[in-house]
């Protein structure tokens, strides 16, 4: 008993320095960014030794989401969501495919494995520079059709201004409310089915609120923008997505390959014995058994998708709004326009987006440990 007490004192002493550093340099600075985002630091003499900062509440956030001149931020936010979706889907899909192919043990497996994993060793800047050449409008992939005697392709991989799947920014609150409605409806259903009273009540109240907002309130309240503003999936981001998928699918391949090799051979053999083909084995048995791997891959890749700054900066340039990302815009607004408060607001929004990905993971690991 005495020994364990002493142990915990020792461990406290050993942990304290890193705890203090963590508190200051991570949480302190996150807090400071949040404070800056509530001020108007950036007008006039922003770079003074003691700049004037007045608290203006959530004004910066309101301007970002509904101000006339922050249209680029809103498109960048949409881009960020698409980057995450396609990067996760692309790397998981391609990585799984490569892993299954290698799992069959083809000739030269070792070499292939190294080749597929190699792009991950490159920095984003190198990847960006290579792929910028590949996607340059008058060279690279656009020349491939000429090999077959066809006209040179004219798709502007990184600078196309075309957008598909357009939607009006004014209806975004309605869309969010509907998504939340679906989530809360599931909560309600789960609570009702398992006989959990509080969960049922919360689910009912929240899903009801969301439905009420989407169906009634949204039409009664003034629109969030005085005019219709259309955003959508920017086609120029395709080039960036391809480069990022190329870089990281080797990584997911390695994860999945380890997973496949970790499955007991008996599982494969008994599946064969029961008459399952390869496709059935992978689809029905192997993939569901690798769920923990899929989950951690999703979390890691979606984090990487929020850190695309270097890739976009080197591949398309910071000013290319078609491939924009909030992190790039944050850099421009902070360091080029000297608008530190708005830049801080964007970084806080990015932080919350990262939290959206990591909180489910924390819940998961918390549950697993209990």
């Amino acid at each position: 008993m005495v020994g364990s007490k002493r142990n915990s004192v020792y461990s406290m002493i050993v942990l304290l320095p890193s705890l203090i550093l963590l508190l200051i340099f991570v949480y302190g600075f996150i807090g400071n960014s949040f404070y800056v985002s509530l001020t108007d630091w950036g007008t006039g003499a922003a770079l003074r030794e003691n700049p004037v900062k007045n608290l203006i509440g959530l004004e910066n956030y309101r301007r970002l989401f509904t101000g006339a001149i922050h249209e680029r931020f809103r498109q960048d936010l949409i881009n960020a969501i698409f980057y995450s979706l396609f990067l996760v889907a692309g790397t998981l899909g391609l990585g799984l495919f490569l892993a299954i192919m290698l799992d069959k043990g083809p000739k030269g497996e070792n070499i292939l494995r190294t080749i597929f994993l190699f792009p991950m060793a490159l920095s984003f800047v190198v990847t960006g520079t290579i792929w910028r050449w590949i996607f340059s409008p008058k060279g690279g992939v656009n020349l491939i059709p000429t090999w077959f005697g066809m006209e040179r392709g004219d798709f502007l991989w990184l600078s196309s201004r075309e957008k598909v799947a357009l939607f009006n920014w004014q209806s975004v609150p309605q869309i969010i409310a509907l998504i939340l409605f679906v989530i809360f409806a599931f909560m309600l259903y789960g609570g009702w089915k398992n006989g959990r009273r509080t969960q049922t009540i919360w689910g009912a109240v929240l899903s009801g609120l969301m439905l009420f907002y989407a169906a009634v309130l949204h039409y009664l309240l003034p629109p969030i923008l005085p005019y219709a503003e259309f955003h959508g999936f920017s086609l120029a981001t395709v080039g960036i997505i391809i480069a990022a998928v190329w870089q990281y699918s080797g990584y997911t391949m390695a994860l999945y390959l380890a997973g496949l090799r970790g499955l007991p051979v008996a599982m494969y053999e008994s599946a064969k014995m029961d008459g399952a083909g390869d496709i059935t084995y992978y689809l029905k048995i192997a993939i569901p058994n690798m769920w923990p791997i899929t989950l951690s891959a999703i979390i890691i890749i979606s984090h990487i998708s929020l850190k695309l700054f270097a890739l976009i900066f080197s591949m398309a340039g910071a000013d290319n709004a078609s491939t924009g990302h909030p992190s790039v815009l944050m850099y421009l607004i902070t360091f080029r326009a000297n608008n530190f408060a708005v830049g801080a607001a964007i970084s806080v929004i990015l932080f919350l987006m990262a939290a959206l990905f990591i909180i489910p993971y924390l819940i998961q690991s918390y549950r697993a440990r209990r």
Binding site: A46, R48, I56, F65, R72, P222, N339
Partner: protein
């Protein structure tokens, strides 16, 4: 525990929506605060003998490096005891260098002297932040008050002082072409945008791109030439001193003209560098290019073309007799490590010999009125003549007329315009950012 987590997630999900709802619809732009006038320290004229290290911060790398190196060599001839550290950060127009400079200044580690576009880019950022020394005593003791044009001194100074030493002058409103090609295609350099639009049709029919364009900032560069051509010098100045509203009919007309002109440019412009846009003209794929006269340096030095015969130039359509200038300059930040060497550097930058060493290589002209024109090529000589007797206005894209906040927001407005091509909306947005950045009062 689980309930707490669910609640937390709910709150996190709701937070963005709350910020959307918060507040009404009015754009409560806080106008730039008046900087209160405080006594600004002057530069001292006697810091002792220059020795030690001198760090010069600039974005002159690549094609522009030889000019800077020549200037540094000249400095070292005069002050051999000083070790010059040439800190360059690449990126056209200083896009990356300026960000690096800001982090260094904020971190209390200013370079001994840094390159900066003369005008509001320096004044709106560094002078407003009270981080520069007033150079008026230096200008007086070196006799620069008489050799730099008065217009120029007005644009690089405020009522509180003069803030930097210009080393060069570039012209922004120049249209470049290859005379041989124009002859072959049967067109002449247009005098106005209407003329341009007329011949553009003809050129396009021959499979020629009428006007070559490059990455985003060159569109802003084209905008200022179009604005000057459509508005004329007085009204163009009016945009910056608040006499002409950004939402006025004439200002909308600028955007409408730009919209028509953009119809006749290369589709892939956002993926090209400005050099590649020049290459299109040189290679015979495009007829004209509007670019600052660093393009002359590129064509003469890098591509080895003869000014006046291999390539030609004219003032951009409708701007004959007006010289839209921009200048690079060096200032004296507060708290530098080696003030003696910095002062000596500024003296070299402003000297006749320094300017006549630097500018012929850079492709720019001297900002002094007494420069030795025989050292310059045909293009620069013609530019120097124009600089001496033309009306002078400042460039937006290169930091003379507006502060960095406006410049950055203007790039966003341009991006919006390129997406929806709505002149009215662009004019309204430009007015909004002009108010927000203190260019015009409400």
């Amino acid at each position: 525990m689980k309930k707490g987590l669910t609640l937390m997630i709910t709150l996190l999900l709701l937070l963005p929506m709350v910020s959307v709802w918060a507040g009404g619809q009015q754009e409560g732009a806080a106008a730039a605060e008046e900087t209160e006038t405080v006594a600004v320290p002057d530069v001292e004229l006697d810091y002792g003998k220059p020795t030690g290290d001198l760090e010069i911060f600039s974005w002159w790398a690549g094609d522009e490096a030889p000019a800077l190196n020549a200037l540094i060599d000249l400095y070292n001839d005069d002050y051999p005891q000083v070790e010059v550290i040439n800190a360059t950060v690449t990126g056209g127009s200083g896009v990356n260098a300026k960000a690096v400079l800001k982090t260094r200044m904020l971190g209390g580690d200013p370079p001994d002297s840094f390159q900066v576009h003369a005008g509001q880019e320096l004044i709106g950022t560094w002078v407003a932040a009270e981080r520069m020394l007033d150079l008026t005593p230096l200008f007086e003791s070196e006799g620069w008050m008489d050799v730099f044009p008065e217009d120029l001194i007005n644009l690089i100074g405020t009522e509180n002082g003069i803030w930097s030493v210009p080393v060069n002058v570039h012209r922004s409103n120049v249209m470049w072409y290859i005379p041989e090609n124009l002859e072959e295609w049967g067109v002449e350099a247009p005098q106005s945008w209407d003329e341009f639009l007329n011949i553009a049709e003809d050129l396009e029919a021959q499979g020629i791109t009428p006007l070559s364009l490059a990455t985003n900032w060159t569109v802003n560069h084209l905008w200022e030439s179009v604005a000057l051509g459509v508005l004329g010098a007085d009204k163009y100045d009016g945009l910056w001193n608040g006499e002409l509203s950004w939402t006025s009919e004439e200002a909308v007309e600028v955007w409408a003209t730009l919209d028509e002109v953009l119809e006749y440019t290369n589709d892939d412009f956002s993926s090209l560098s400005w050099q590649q846009a020049t290459d299109l003209v040189v290679g015979g794929d495009a007829a004209f290019n509007i670019m600052g006269d660093w393009a002359a340096g590129y064509m003469s030095t890098t591509l080895n073309l003869q000014p006046g015969s291999d390539y030609m130039w004219a003032a951009s359509p409708g701007t004959d007799g007006v010289f839209m200038f921009l200048a690079d300059s060096f200032g004296f930040p507060k708290g530098v490590k080696n003030p003696a060497a910095t002062l000596a550097w500024l003296k070299t930058c402003g000297s006749k010999e320094g300017q006549d060493t630097f500018n012929p290589l850079k492709g720019s002209i001297s900002s002094r009125t007494d420069s030795d024109l025989s050292k310059y090529n045909d293009y620069s000589q013609s530019a120097a003549e124009d600089f001496a007797d033309n009306r002078i206005v400042g460039s937006l894209a290169h930091g003379v007329t507006a502060n960095e906040g406006f410049m950055n927001d203007f790039a966003t407005v341009m991006e919006m315009f390129l997406n929806n091509r709505n002149p009215e909306q662009a004019a309204n947005a430009a007015q909004a950012i002009a108010i927000q950045n203190g260019i015009v009062s409400r």
